[in-house]
């Protein structure tokens, strides 16, 4: 079983990979948060693979180990290998870099990277979904305020106010929330 070390020293929740990797059958032997802890873990726990955020400041620490090639496993920069599979290039693009020991072939590394990739893609999707939800909430508030303006100024019922907004949006070819924003701005301008 490949022994994986996670470096968790940036804002990216790389530590959350632990569950996913363990679920996929890998042994996550440690999670470290700085260069000194990383050096200690590499020396004492001898990981086969180190997964690290591309933007981690600890990457240079692994570069040195790769060049020195003693004291511990010999991590190799996967990015270096021109024959690397697309999955690894994608991983680098997604912000993960893997340093692996010599004897770990790209074929064995690829599934780990895929797990990492999937985890980060899910992260991105969750963030997007959250952003969408927030946008919807903000839109709803705007529309409610605009309905209030119409009900107040024109004596419309709530249903009539909403119908008016919707009709205007269709006429303009814009979103109801945008029409609501215009209406509120106009109402503020005119008092």
């Amino acid at each position: 079983m490949l022994r994986v070390l996670l470096v968790n020293d940036t804002a990216k929740p790389i530590g959350e990979l632990r569950d996913a990797l363990e679920h996929a059958g890998y042994a996550v032997i440690a999670e470290v948060d700085g260069a000194a802890a990383l050096l200690h873990a590499v020396e004492t726990q001898r990981p086969d693979v180190v997964i690290i955020d591309t933007e981690s400041p600890s990457r240079d620490t692994l570069e040195q180990l790769a060049v020195m090639g003693h004291a511990a496993p010999r991590p190799v920069v996967m990015f270096a290998d021109r024959s690397e599979p697309q999955a690894i290039r994608d991983a680098v693009g997604a912000g993960v870099t893997a340093y692996v020991v010599d004897h770990v072939g790209a074929d064995r590394l690829a599934p780990i990277i895929e797990v990492a990739l999937a985890r980060f893609e899910e992260e991105a999707r969750l963030k997007k979904r959250l952003a969408n939800a927030e946008q919807q909430l903000a839109d709803r508030k705007l529309i409610d305020r605009a309905k209030g303006v119409l009900m107040d100024k024109r004596g419309l019922s709530e249903a009539e106010a909403y119908a008016t907004l919707r009709e205007q949006a269709m006429k303009q070819g814009s979103r109801i929330a945008d029409v609501a924003r215009q209406l509120i701005a106009m109402a503020e301008l005119l008092g």
Binding site: A35, L39, S56
Partner: protein
Amino acid sequence: MSHLYESLPGYRITGSDAPEKTVLKLGFVPLSDCAPLVAAKVLDLGRAHGIEIELYRQPSWAAVRDKLISGELDAAHALYGLVYGVELGIGGPQADMAVLMTLNQNGQAITLSNRLADALQAGRGLRELLAAGTRRPVFAQTFPTGTHAMWLYYWLAAQGIHPLADVKPVVIPPPQMSDALASGVLDGYCAGEPWHAVAEAEGHGRTVIRSGEIWPDHPEKVLACRRDFVARHPNAARALTMTLLEACRWLDDLEHRREAAGWLSGPGYVGRASQLIMPRLLGDYGRLGDTAPLMRFFGGGSVNYPYLSDGLWFLSQYRRWGLLSQQVDMAAVVRAVNQTALYDEAASALGVLQPASPMRSSTLIDDRGWDGSDPQGYADGFEIRADAGVGGIGDGRR
């Protein structure tokens, strides 16, 4: 049709020296010597040369390297040795690289733990001190083929200490160095500023030597890019060189350096208090005095010329430390990397004087002379090398 010809590598039409690319993305690492890039940006020095500079702070030298190779960055503030490490594919990806100019000389240092600094100050030799320790001493630098690694190794070896055998050479990100000293896992380090001033201010270690004492006026950071960037954008590369040359000239004035220290302290750049950056940028090292060659950015252009002998020195040290085992034509490598012709054009256009020779002579801390004439012989002449001089101290503690 002229625009078609302009896009051909190396082709220039008289009267049309316009940069092929006008917005250039530059990487830098938060260090005091990224000042030329920051000055160029803040003063908008690129405008006169038809370019706009965008600066991107990088968390590691590995990130600088990867982004130069991927094209995410057009050029960067880089360790001299990083460029040659990538050119030769040492411990990482290979790419054909270019040094456009040297950005600074000197200004780096070595800090030791308080315990070692005290003993050294009391007159004891470092070799003896390290041999007396209970564990193998740990010394840090910043990148395996970088300048700090080479200054550290040279300095240790000059004292009879084998940097690869008698001590454990590791890399720790400079902002973590002070804490590593405090926790006792680290005995000393070589890095850029302000990370020595920070360790002193935090009381975790003391600066014992400045890099200008190891090699007076050594080359340090360079303006680096991929070689094909120069081939495809010769005008942009020249405009960028001129822009940074003007920034370096501007920084020669100490009043300007004071101003730059304020900019560097901003959160987007180094993000440390100006009082940690400014004194040493101005050459004030307190108790250490002003006896060492200090940070130089311009010196009438003598700093910036991409001397071939400087590149050859790094190759000689890679040989010495076993980082470069394959046979290479060292002179050919250096001529390909160091863009002396492009630099000549940029310097001439600004009226900046150029040296009479692409080689220069120096005497390093061990009294050995270096003039670039025989890099292999120079490398072989050291008693302490990767394959020799092992076992002086620390037997049985490896």
